[in-house]
Symmetry: C2
Subunit: 411 residues, 2 copies
């Protein structure tokens, strides 16, 4: 019999009826003899309601007090789920972050977990109780309430699984697993049975918002077996996220195709080709707290080069303002911004040992008449920036070309 | 400069705008140099919403988990009020019950305060901060969240005032003080500048729902100066509730007229006049957890007597069922229930040294043609049960007869 940590998000606990559904699922595992720790988010809409209250009082509400307000969302859910479990005859006990305790640093609204004391939970589990823990929250060394930031409940679940040395950490969400790509674009998209942490990180950061990225990093670091499942389906194995060694030998070279619509391309033309230029360009952008995604610099000629990078679409205006100043300091020729782009990426640990993946990707896009504007590669990912009107076409063509619609995919 | 504890109820903090009003009032005291501790309730409607959620999941939700859910209401308000204070430039810091800590017993949903550690609050006050504390909640010896029951925020405020040795505990509510009687019945009803704890207890228990009765007992026991004020009026002294020695020497004999519509009269006729009868009658009633208010037994004759008492109107049916069984055991003649009654009481510490108050009360009622069905007296109160159709008439006549509409009242 296993020790399982289950996490249910806001949609899964969005009403008393849904909380009863969660309770029935937890009860099933409990009755099978498993020891179960459940982590829950605030009921859907609740965190937004609380944020709106703080913002009605201040444009920049104090982070400590914001956390005091926000932490109540999960506290309500743990009490309600415990009541629902007891109603099914399952002994259950709720814990807030400070009651566990889940110790964090004092970075209010984005705290990091420092340590978790599992003793009280283990004692309850030994007595046959289900333990229900509030996600997203903790307590700092001075006894202040902290929150981990949006999506922090995933991190709580993984951290608890690590502290309890759980056999598996199950993340219940509104999708039934991780897909080869977005099924709304490619109807043939297939649920992956397994994916590695590294692949999941690349998929997550590219817009497959199934799991909070910090929780995946955390799971990888502490070797927690992570499984993504649907809370709305009775059966289903979901997708298991594991370290690479545990994945199937028969695994495909490409696991999935991720994409990001929210990209804008910025290009500086005629940048002097000398040391320190990249920092002169990106330093002021970073100072303005703007995240830069892809960065591409071509080899120069005639002492000048072109420098391109991508940012989120709604950061473009500010970036262009910053770069107009930088352009003059640098003596660059021109700054160009383009919002009508998107990014498409192939992700797969298999490509490390398979040359030719990039070539096949570029050929596929060429056959569809899609021009590639930027290319960037990492060990397990190849990304291209293309005109956003070709996004669906590109994803569908690549999904087919790499055989992702077939269980036994190959190059 | 004084140390003041202020308590604001749910209506006073029912919206962001109202919370801003409270913040402005607190800021005024803070700017005058006072050290201020603020106790707040949940925003109006919030506790009912949370109770409804627990009851959607269980007919009798677990008390421990109910408290986990309910305690969030006040936690939201302390964060919001602290943010509103900071927005006005007033340094403020919120505390939940467990953060103070306010230690209670483990009687979930109706816990009693055992002790309060004032050190952290005093340190904040010494630094010039306003301290904002969640009412209604505490933490038990095992670290569980507890609540004090409805209206418990008043008790929190008084207990904090006692622990901090505050100069005054101000209870802000939607009325501007304690009145000689309900102004909706007697337009000439006058706000009392002062009232003793004993009088307040008699008034409160009779339906003047200005203050929670436990908080008044607590204030009397620890000699906390308690003041009831309106949170909706800018000025106003409210009503000060003090120990008797501090009240004005010129005080009136009668302080106010309380009444209770929610009374039903139960009479057993022909009860054998022997020891143990009262217990035989009221024991089963108490076992059924039904509160009995007035109890009257007349002298017997011919070995039998009549026994009457009052209960809340909606307990009458159950009481009559219980007494039908008791009647047969006792050999009493008949059980009669009457819902069409009410209770009217004169309250005043002055009556201790002034005979003739009761006679004047009875004469006043007789002159209005009102029949008295039951009479009960205590040291500072005379209560009568009358037909409920005469309630307004009786209150108005007594208010005039005892000169309560005039500042310098006398018999």
């Amino acid at each position: 019999m296993a020790l399982i940590v289950q996490k249910y998000g806001g949609t899964s606990v969005g009403s008393p009826e849904r909380i009863q559904n969660v309770a029935r699922r937890v009860a099933k595992y409990h009755q099978q003899g498993h020891r179960v720790v459940v982590v829950v988010s605030a009921m859907s809409g609740e965190t937004n309601r609380l944020v709106a209250l703080t913002q009605a009082l201040s444009e920049s509400p104090d982070p400590r007090e914001t956390d005091v307000v926000l932490a109540t969302g999960e506290q309500v859910t743990i009490g309600l789920l415990s009541i629902a479990l007891q109603e099914l005859g399952v002994p259950a006990r709720s814990y807030t972050g400070w009651q566990v305790p889940i110790r964090t640093d004092s970075a209010f609204t984005k705290a990091r977990i420092l340590s978790i004391e599992p003793e009280r939970m283990l004692a309850d589990l030994a007595e046959g109780k289900v333990v229900v823990v509030a996600g997203f929250q903790g307590v700092d060394p001075a006894g202040n309430i902290t929150t981990l930031g949006r999506g922090g409940s995933d991190t709580t679940a993984v951290a608890l699984a690590a502290a309890l040395q759980a056999d598996e950490c199950q993340i219940y969400t509104d999708v039934d697993g991780v897909y080869t790509t977005d099924p709304r674009i490619v109807p043939e998209a297939r649920r992956l049975e397994r994916i590695t942490f590294e692949e999941m990180l690349e998929m997550a950061s590219l817009g497959s918002k199934v799991l909070q990225i910090r929780s995946v990093e955390f799971a990888g670091k502490y070797k927690v077996k992570l499984r993504v499942l649907s809370s709305f389906e009775e059966e289903g194995e979901g997708t298991l996220i594991t370290v690479e060694e545990e994945t199937n030998m028969e695994q495909p070279i490409i696991s999935g195709i991720a994409f990001q619509r929210d990209e804008a391309k910025v290009t500086l033309l005629g940048v002097p080709d000398k040391p320190g230029v990249a920092y002169q360009i990106l330093g002021p952008v970073a100072d303005a707290n703007i995240d830069v995604d892809m960065i591409v610099q071509n080899v120069g000629h005639d002492g000048a080069t072109d420098f391109s990078f991508t940012v989120a679409k709604n950061d473009l205006k500010r970036v262009l303002e910053i770069l107009e100043r930088v352009k003059n300091d640098l003596g660059a020729r021109q700054v160009i911004g383009d919002k009508s782009v998107c990014k498409v990426s192939l992700v797969g640990v298999g490509m490390r040992s398979h040359p030719g993946v990039a070539a096949k990707m570029f050929r596929t896009l060429a056959e569809e008449g899609i021009n590639i504007q930027m290319i960037s590669t990492s060990e397990i990912k190849i990304s291209v920036v293309i005109d956003e009107k070709y996004l669906e076409l590109a994803v569908r063509a690549l999904h087919k070309a790499f055989g992702l619609d077939r269980p036994e995919a190959d190059v």
